[in-house]
Symmetry: C2
């Protein structure tokens, strides 16, 4: 029999605890601050916004392992464990000595890794009797996941969807509606933040920052309602570590250990999910794996951003987060990887990057579609434009391995499929896409006025 392509775990192999990297970090992230008083926030300060358990997890700097509730684990069984795949077709197409593996998170019913955090977030809301949730979504992956998760627990959901995606990706909207969610194009007239921006810029096509403002405003003004976020926050990264924990066992089945781990990067959730479980062995001094976050060249917060206290949203409703940021007023180009169009990185990843414990690369849009098309033809799966950033970074490393004649072991996260994004592929084939490369652009203006984070002057 020929060699294995997939490494398959059973339901009992789904992790029983999430991995919290913070206790193992040599330098902890700076605290979030109250915007008015500049006082460090406690978990209790976050209770009005998030479920209490999510708030506690957000501020948990002490427990390395946090138990996954039985009901969450049971719902994970709908699609988890996900396969780890040896990308032999891609290796062959690249004629590389590298061994390329990918964790296939696209097999979830909603098509991406986002469900890993949507389920526990909805579960914790249900536990405390919450009846309504609000959220934002860019390309729609997070909104779709939370729509399904909310339905599972009988909670009503309102999703503010970035207007350009609402119009460009009608199938995503349909998916959310099929799961029973209410979907509103953002900016909308339903919130003060939305009305303000529509009034000032009638043709504004929306951004994740604005959609977050609208969702937060609605949550804060609705009884028994919480807000849920699909990335950036520590508790979201925490939930996503099921990806890396499963992958670790599957790499053992394959008899290898990754030299390089890669994830695409919007706010950090899927990158953290695939990376942190492997990174703990680096932090313990047992391994020297490289970790690479692949971000769009049009939104280069990790390579060109500055470490500042910044808002998570455009209107300034959220706490101040210590982040590598391009500024909350930075307006990213309309690339098709809508899930990566966000101005800042989560506090933990920002600190890890500042401490040299991970790397980042900027990928121009055309290179991501070239990588995606090669991947589709050689592995059969059509990747999401977001995930294609990770594929492009993996291809760069596989080519380097070929030049060096080294059989490097590369692992990347295929965070989602691109079946709802086929219009983007059409535009790519038609030659209609641009790179929006900002690597030579001065991006300091939008961070002017933001406070320094201590230790990062």
């Amino acid at each position: 029999m020929s060699e294995s392509k997939k490494f398959i775990l059973q339901e009992q192999d789904i992790p029983t605890a999430w991995f919290n990297i913070i206790p193992a970090m040599p330098v902890k992230p700076a605290p979030m601050l109250d915007p008015a008083s500049k006082r460090p926030l406690t978990a209790e300060d976050l209770f009005p916004l998030f479920s209490e358990e999510a708030a506690r997890q957000e501020l948990n700097f002490t427990d390395s392992w946090i138990e996954i509730p039985e009901q969450v684990r049971d719902l994970y069984k709908i699609w988890r464990p996900t396969p780890l795949v040896r990308a032999r077709g891609l290796e062959k197409a690249l004629d590389t000595p590298a061994h390329i593996y990918f964790k296939n998170e696209s097999v979830s019913p909603v098509g991406s890794h986002k469900l890993n955090s949507a389920i526990p977030q909805a579960y914790y809301c249900k536990q405390q009797g919450v009846t309504n949730i609000t959220t934002e979504t860019g390309a729609g992956q997070w909104g779709t996941a939370l729509s399904l998760a909310s339905k599972m627990f009988g909670i009503e959901l309102a999703v503010y969807m970035v207007k350009i995606s609402f119009n460009q990706k009608p199938y995503r909207r349909s998916m959310m509606q099929t799961y029973g969610a209410q979907v509103i194009a953002s900016p909308s007239m339903s919130t003060r933040a939305g009305r303000k921006i529509i009034t000032e810029h009638p043709n504004y096509q929306g951004s994740l920052g604005t959609a977050i403002s609208e969702a937060v405003e609605l949550a804060m003004s609705t009884p028994n309602c919480k807000y849920a976020l699909g990335s950036v926050m520590n508790h979201v990264a925490l939930h996503q570590t099921v990806i890396g924990l499963e992958a670790e066992r599957q790499m053992e089945m394959a008899g290898e250990y990754p030299d390089i781990v890669i994830g695409c990067f919007g706010g950090g959730s899927n990158f953290s999910g695939i990376s942190f479980p492997f990174m703990r062995h680096n932090l313990a001094g047992d391994r020297t794996t490289r970790f690479i976050a692949a971000e769009p060249a049009s939104c280069p917060k990790l390579t060109k951003g500055a470490m500042r206290y910044d808002f998570g949203d455009e209107a300034g409703y959220t706490p101040l987060i210590p982040m590598l940021t391009l500024g909350h007023n930075f307006s990213p180009a309309n690339i098709h990887a809508g899930g990566l169009r966000y101005h800042g990185a989560g506090a933990v990843v920002s600190q890890l990057k500042a401490d040299g414990l991970m790397e980042a690369v900027d990928i121009p849009q055309l290179e991501t579609f070239e990588a995606a098309t090669l991947f589709a033809k050689s592995e059969g799966l059509i990747p999401a434009p977001e995930s294609s950033h990770a594929i492009a970074a993996a291809i760069r490393e596989a080519k380097r391995a070929k030049e060096a004649g080294e059989a490097k072991v590369i692992l990347f996260n295929l965070s989602g499929h691109g079946l709802i994004d086929m219009a983007a592929y059409d535009r790519y084939f038609a030659g209609d896409l641009a790179n929006y490369d900002l690597s030579e652009t001065d991006l300091t203006e939008t961070i002017a006025g933001l406070d320094m984070v201590p230790g990062h002057e």
Copy 2:
């Protein structure tokens, strides 16, 4: 730990041989005939049209097991084995004592079971040096699968896509183009058959029958080119038996055996795939499982068709096939389950139905979308409109089990996901869909003039 939802096999559990039901049939299907001479066809007669191995398999009435080539099995590993899932969410939503299982074929990279036959068909073409393949596709599932399979073997593919689907499902077209196939809306001006029908009916939106005619005509007039079909034929049903063979082992893991097996029905490939391996135990006298084919009420060939010698295509290029048919000039309504809009059933299924070894039910379109929406909300997966016919039939049986207070074990095949069909869901929610129920309509006109099949007068 709570009970299992999924039953997962390893790569080594992928079947090593397909199951050929014909040797076990009490009455064999009548032979295919040459349209001019009415002479029974041999495998050699089919060599100009199909690959030689596909032609041999088509006429193989003696071997119960046909070995799966190593390279095909290796490519199956990209997504196989597929999960068997206990639909506990759906059971709960229906409050039924029935145990409902589904085989999830939607996890294939192209989103349906069609790749199970596309890969061997492309492989056999490659083995004999074929450089070009033509085919037809309705909703696009088969065309997408053959696009990927052809790319895997470096063969050029031309796909005639039914015009209404070409326009309604642009994402399917994009997927085929991403895999490198040429996609032509049918009827087209590129063939005699296409030109004739466009000339006579300029606004004709196409049908599977017409698209088959165009694909066959192009194959017959192109050097080193073969035609490949995604359903109806014996060799296609043969390849699809990997579904049922895997499901049989997975039902053993679950400690149950199905009382009822259900598949949706267009030409018969996914129904045959899930059913035949279980049916062999009925034919051996060891089991009394019921087998139910779920067809659209708008295209009721199994319940209202007659057993006749009929063409597989509209223009009459194919051999005469002994089939339960509504006549090759029957024009099905524009339901969204484009893959089920076909006038006839394969020879084997037609014979099994005539002999009372299986049943058929007609499902109106609105009932299929109601079933699909309930399934999406309770199991998370958004099904293809085709597969929703099987879900609707399973729900009918689960409700009957509840009325009777019986813990029936129901297994159905989820042949594909509906992520490329979200526009159909939008129309359903908007109240724009009709049933096109033909159960009270006289359908004898379109079979007038077709020859009787001996034994079925």
